[in-house]
C-alpha cells in the first residue's frame, strides 16, 4: 500500500500536535465559512467594544479573545470606527495585562488600516495582534492565559455563528457549527489550568459552556426542533458567558440563562 494512503494509527492520532495558533480556527476563519454558507448581515452583529474594568488576569485574557472576535465582526461589517474602538480596547487590555510593550505598533497599524478601509490587512493584523498578546503572555510565564484567550475568541465566534444559523428558517450554515472535538479539547485544557486561575465563577462558567456545547454538538443526528433547540441552548449559554467576560462586575453566570440575560439571536 502506498504510504500516502495508509490510515493513521490510534497512537498517531493520540500523539497529534495541538497548537493554539493553528489548531483553533480564528474567528475570521469561522466567519469566512459562514459567509459562504449564508451571507450574514454583519452590520447588525456589531456590538460596542468595551473592555471590562478589572484586575483579574483570567478575565482580562478572556476579554482579549472576545474583543478580537468583535474586531473580526467589525471587519466583516466594514465598520472602520468600530475596528478602531476594538483596537483601542485591546491596547487597554494589553496594558492591564502588562503585555503592551510591543503592541503600540500594532495599535497604530489597526488605526491606519481602518482609515484606509483595508479590510484584508485589518483581518490579518487582528490575528497578528492577538497572537502577539499571547506570545508576550508566554514570555512572561503566563502561558495558561493563552488558553483562556483562545477559548473566549472561539466561544464569541460560536455565539455569532449560532445566532446567524438560528435566524434562518432552514438553519442555513449549521455545518460551520460542527466542532464538538474542539469544544471538548478546549474544555479539557481549561480543566487542567492551575487552581488559582479557576477561582471565581468566570473560568468554570466558560468551561461548563464548552462542555455543554461539546455534548450538544456530539449528538449524532438530531432532527428539526431538537437541532434548533440545541443551537438555541448553545447560543444562550455563549451569550451569557460572553456578557460576563465583558462585564466589569463579573457576575456569576448561571448554567441556564436568566430571562434577562437570554438575548434573542440577531436577525441577519
Amino acid at each position: 500500500m502506498d504510504p500516502a494512503n495508509t490510515p493513521m494509527t490510534e497512537p498517531q492520532k493520540q500523539a497529534a500536535v495541538f497548537l493554539d495558533a493553528l489548531s483553533v480556527p480564528s474567528p475570521g476563519e469561522v466567519f469566512a465559512a459562514l459567509n459562504k454558507a449564508c451571507r450574514p448581515n454583519w452590520a447588525t452583529l456589531v456590538t460596542p467594544a468595551t473592555a471590562p474594568v478589572t484586575t483579574e488576569r483570567p478575565q482580562l485574557a478572556l476579554a482579549v479573545g472576545v474583543l478580537t472576535a468583535n474586531g473580526y465582526i467589525a471587519v466583516e461589517a466594514q465598520d472602520g470606527q468600530q475596528v478602531k474602538n476594538v483596537g483601542r480596547e485591546l491596547m487597554a487590555l494589553a496594558k492591564s495585562l502588562g503585555v503592551s510593550q510591543s503592541l503600540l505598533g500594532r495599535g497604530n497599524s489597526l488605526m491606519e488600516f481602518a482609515d484606509n478601509n483595508d479590510w484584508d490587512a485589518l483581518a490579518d493584523e487582528l490575528e497578528a495582534t492577538e497572537n502577539e498578546v499571547k506570545n508576550t503572555m508566554v514570555e512572561q510565564k503566563d502561558r495558561d492565559l493563552v488558553t483562556l484567550t483562545s477559548a473566549a475568541a472561539w466561544l464569541r465566534g460560536l455565539e455569532v455563528a449560532t445566532g446567524v444559523v438560528l435566524a434562518s428558517d432552514s438553519l442555513q450554515g449549521s455545518g460551520t457549527l460542527y466542532q464538538p472535538e474542539l469544544a471538548r479539547r478546549l474544555a479539557k485544557q481549561l480543566d487542567s489550568l492551575p487552581d488559582r486561575m479557576k477561582r471565581g465563577a468566570l473560568v468554570p462558567a466558560v468551561k461548563r459552556t464548552l462542555e455543554t456545547t461539546a455534548s450538544l454538538l456530539e449528538n449524532p443526528d438530531p432532527k428539526g426542533d431538537t437541532l434548533r433547540k440545541n443551537y438555541k441552548k448553545i447560543y444562550d449559554d455563549c451569550s451569557v458567558v460572553v456578557k460576563a467576560i465583558l462585564s466589569s462586575s463579573t457576575p456569576a453566570p448561571t448554567a441556564t440563562p436568566s430571562p434577562a440575560l437570554s438575548t434573542k439571536p440577531p436577525k441577519s
Binding site: P3, A4, N5, T6, P7, M8, T9, E10, Q12, K13, A15, A16, V17, F18, L19, D20, A21, L22, S23, V24, P25, S26, G28, E29, V30, A32, A33, K36, A37, S102, G105, S109, D118, D120, A121, A123, D124, E125, E127, A128, N131, E132, K134, N135, T136, V138, E139, R143, V146, G175, T176, L177, Y178, Q179, P180, E181, L182
Partner: protein, 171 residues
C-alpha cells in the same frame, strides 16, 4: 491598487515574521502536546520558505493563518497536527525545509484517520530546499489531521532528521 495591496500584505507578513520571530516559535513549541522531538528549535529559513510559497496562494485570494508548526522529522517517521476545517472552504497546507535532496509529503486525514483526497504540489527536484503543499476542500466540517513525512526521491523514508515548517491558508 491590487499590486499595492499585495505588497502591503507581504510587507505585513514580513513584519509579522520579524516581530514574532523567536517568541512565536517558542509559543508554538510550548503548547505542543506530543513528543519532545517537535520541541526543538527550528531555523527561521524554513518558515520563510513556507510563507513565500503560501504567498502564491495569497495572491489567489487565500488568507494565511498567523501561526506556524515547526518540527523535526526523525528517520522519515511522520508527525501530525490537529486542525479544524470547514465544509465549503478551500485550504492549502504548505510545508518547507531548507534541506535539499529530500521530499516532504503533506497528507490530510479525516477525524477517523483516513487519508482525504487532496491536490498535491511540490517544487522542482533541483530547487534549493524542499517545499510541498496539499490542497483540500472538505465536504464536512470538523477535526482533521495534517501529516508531514520526509521522503527520499526514491519514495522511501529519509534516514536522518529533517526540520520543516508548516503554514496554512484558507479561502
Amino acid at each position: 491598487m491590487r499590486i499595492k495591496k499585495i505588497m502591503l500584505r507581504e510587507t505585513l507578513s514580513l513584519t509579522v515574521i520579524l516581530l514574532l520571530g523567536f517568541s512565536a516559535r517558542m509559543m508554538a513549541q510550548d503548547t505542543v502536546s506530543s513528543s519532545a522531538k517537535v520541541m526543538e528549535s527550528i531555523p527561521t529559513e524554513s518558515r520563510r520558505m513556507a510563507l513565500e510559497t503560501a504567498g502564491a496562494f495569497q495572491n489567489d485570494g487565500f488568507r494565511i493563518r498567523d501561526g506556524e508548526w515547526s518540527a523535526t522529522l526523525s528517520k522519515g517517521a511522520p508527525v501530525f497536527l490537529q486542525v479544524t476545517l470547514f465544509a465549503g472552504e478551500n485550504y492549502w497546507f504548505v510545508a518547507a525545509s531548507q534541506a535539499t535532496g529530500a521530499l516532504l509529503r503533506v497528507t490530510v486525514f479525516d477525524a477517523s484517520g483516513k487519508p482525504v483526497k487532496t491536490e498535491l504540489w511540490h517544487n522542482e527536484a533541483n530547487a534549493e530546499g524542499t517545499r510541498s503543499a496539499a490542497g483540500v476542500a472538505p465536504t464536512q466540517s470538523g477535526k482533521y489531521f495534517i501529516g508531514v513525512e520526509g521522503m527520499k526521491k526514491t519514495n522511501r523514508p529519509t534516514e536522518g532528521s529533517l526540520d520543516f515548517s508548516l503554514v496554512y491558508c484558507y479561502k
